[in-house]
Symmetry: C2
Subunit: 402 residues, 2 copies
């Protein structure tokens, strides 16, 4: 087709989200979907948000509906600076930039820090949305080898040799999407020490840190190296994703360029949304609200853990997550999670194949299961179907080739 448009070189690297395509397939009615990364809509504080909308539009309509500062609503920035003290961080409100979800924080970080061909280090596997945000800036990815506690410190230490000029290491310490794993306190200290020695700063993404079940996670990576860390937070998992509200916390030297990138991207995050959320949370609402999310998700986690133990065939591997929203399941040798997905959908269930979460060589045996969108009873039913599917697939795989 002849065209008058010439696309940017980067556009060739931008591709539709595999998850998004999968979710389309799995939106059929009747599918028990464990695929989505959505928080439970049962946790949205509808009454509080409704009352706050009314108060904001009664008390400050002209300000809430007008253009606003690119930095964000000052009382919200102050609230964030105070909030992260619980993670061991000492932050001034001037370091807080309100973003349109933490996804925008990823975009702004890459815009300010990534040049075409310069390396960015990511976990193996890592959050797919981060790869999508970074890729338009044409980095090359360095995949950090990891274990059950997160990336290996040696992998970070080797970056000056393996990927010289790495712009940052993108790390998700708490209940990582997709694996659900949390970094131990010693691992955090080792990673920060290795990063500091390697001269590789950290972009720390923490959307799930509040969703712990038995004990809070250790202090943030940023608390251990404030001047070498850019921290991303979000209200999506503890309040609502539909307001698209997140924030980044940056060292003073980086803040001005991030602010200019924000201004260029969308002028500012909706002032109305910022004021409504601040109105809801200003009096300590989250300290009352989040425990109810934790209790709900923990019960769901328990239901899925029990169902996995009961229904999955030998050879499947998983850890029971201590927080967050996801189980990460590794299928027995010979099975391929992507290849099995159409049969899973036929059987009435859905998951996300793990392959989507790798910057390089994917693990075809991995898949991600969300435990927060279905009820415990439906989780049991869904996992039972998954178990039946896997048993059948293993029998087929065990048959001699014709």
């Amino acid at each position: 087709m002849s065209t008058v448009w010439t696309q940017a070189r980067r556009a060739a690297r931008m591709n539709p989200s595999i998850i998004r395509e999968i979710l389309k397939v799995t939106e059929k009615p009747g599918i028990l979907s464990m695929a989505g990364g959505l928080p439970s809509a049962d946790t949205f504080p509808v009454a509080e948000l409704k009352a706050a909308c009314d108060r904001v539009l009664t008390q400050a309509p002209r300000e809430a509906l007008q253009y606003a500062a690119s930095e964000g609503f000052a009382p919200l920035r102050e609230w964030v600076a105070g909030r992260v003290a619980a993670l061991g961080m000492h932050v001034r409100p001037e370091q807080v930039l309100v973003t349109s979800g933490s996804q925008q924080g990823l975009d702004l970080a890459a815009k300010v820090l990534c040049d075409a061909g310069a390396p960015v280090a990511v976990e193996t596997p890592t959050y797919l949305g981060a790869l999508q945000a970074f890729t338009p800036y044409e980095p090359i990815y360095a995949s950090l080898a990891g274990d059950d506690e997160g990336p290996r410190p040696e992998a970070l230490a080797a970056l000056p040799h393996d990927a010289p000029g790495t712009r940052f290491a993108y790390l998700l310490p708490n209940y990582q999407n997709p694996t659900g794993r949390v970094m131990s306190a010693p691992r955090r200290a080792e990673l920060v020490d290795a990063a500091r020695r390697a001269g590789v700063p950290i972009v720390e993404d923490n959307p799930y840190g509040d969703l712990w079940f038995d004990q809070p996670p250790p202090d943030s990576l940023s608390s251990l190296w404030p001047e070498g860390s850019l921290y991303l937070g979000s209200f999506s998992k503890v309040l609502t994703p539909g307001f698209r509200l997140g924030y980044l916390i940056a060292p003073a030297e980086l803040f001005p360029k991030l602010l200019q990138a924000k201004q260029a991207a969308d002028l500012h995050t909706p002032g109305f949304n910022q004021r409504v959320v601040h109105e809801v949370i200003r009096d300590g609402f989250l300290d009352r609200h989040i425990p109810s999310i934790r209790a709900r998700y923990k019960a769901n986690r328990d239901a899925m853990a029990a169902a996995l133990r009961e229904h999955l065939p030998p050879g499947c591997e998983w850890q029971s997550p201590e927080g967050g929203m996801f189980f990460w399941l590794r299928l027995p040798a010979g099975l391929d999670a992507m290849a099995l997905l159409p049969r899973a959908v036929d059987a009435g269930i859905a998951y996300v194949p793990g392959a989507a979460f790798y910057a390089h060589q994917p693990d075809a045996r991995a898949l991600r299961l969300s435990f927060v969108t279905l009820t415990p009873a439906l989780i049991a039913e869904g996992v039972e179907k998954l178990g039946r599917l896997l048993h059948e697939a293993l029998e087929v795989a065990a048959e001699p080739a014709p």
Copy 2:
């Protein structure tokens, strides 16, 4: 200062908005500011928005507060596709991408279309925010020579010679920010014809088109060349900027990459905001509401036109705008709008020096005056002060050098 951070090459080109810095200075109490590009807060439909927030959170709270489609809320996309028929455009809802203000549309367009070193053609002068959005993608700018009707068609026709490989021409047909001028119908046809022959597609930005005073502007540029045009629209000037809601309309071949860029940038525009705005406008509200904005702004325009005629010294040049929010004033030879600004602020008024709006050689004698944020009485007072300042400055300029 030693640092562990390496910034992207593009960051060196990103600078604080001059307007933003000026606005900070002019936010002193008591300043009669004609500097801001803000719509009048008196036009915000507070009661309608409040009722719509309540209805959305009553009728569809789980959907409005959950993650949503990157394309935007389907009924809003349908509304937009229907709305632009009045501009001569035949658009399918699938071509509409909801954005976080039209500023984000500028960012996404540049992300998908701009490579470092490839030209982008802009008007002389042009919207500062567009330069800010494009610049991080490191284009080189081709400034199109213009007259009172907009860019000259010859300037577009010369692009294949003057700036080969120009990715697009960024054009603002209606009541342009900063000059306030509208393109005539013949000029539109000539420009589109020249662009088509030159093989240079158009990014058309139309935030002010609804704000006409006596007669609507001619059909959009995009209506004349749908497959070669990317159209940007906004709710900021006709409803509220505080919800950050805009849209782009793209040819089918460009839509998928713009959608992926949107997804990478912030996943989606807040679903809550989209539903609330759709709830307000679905029944034809804008057709009742916008005429009241037009009447208000026209009265303000008249007040400023009268005050300029009464108070400004000979040698000042301006056109009375037929819509929008701005007068563009050219000072007599020898005066410099930027140099005069501190004295203007001392005198209790503020404007934006025109220099900020040029990609290349600025016109130091130009300045922008908004007529929509002050009342007619305060406009008269502000322009009188401006006139006094200019008279004094001309007297000083006329004195022989000591």
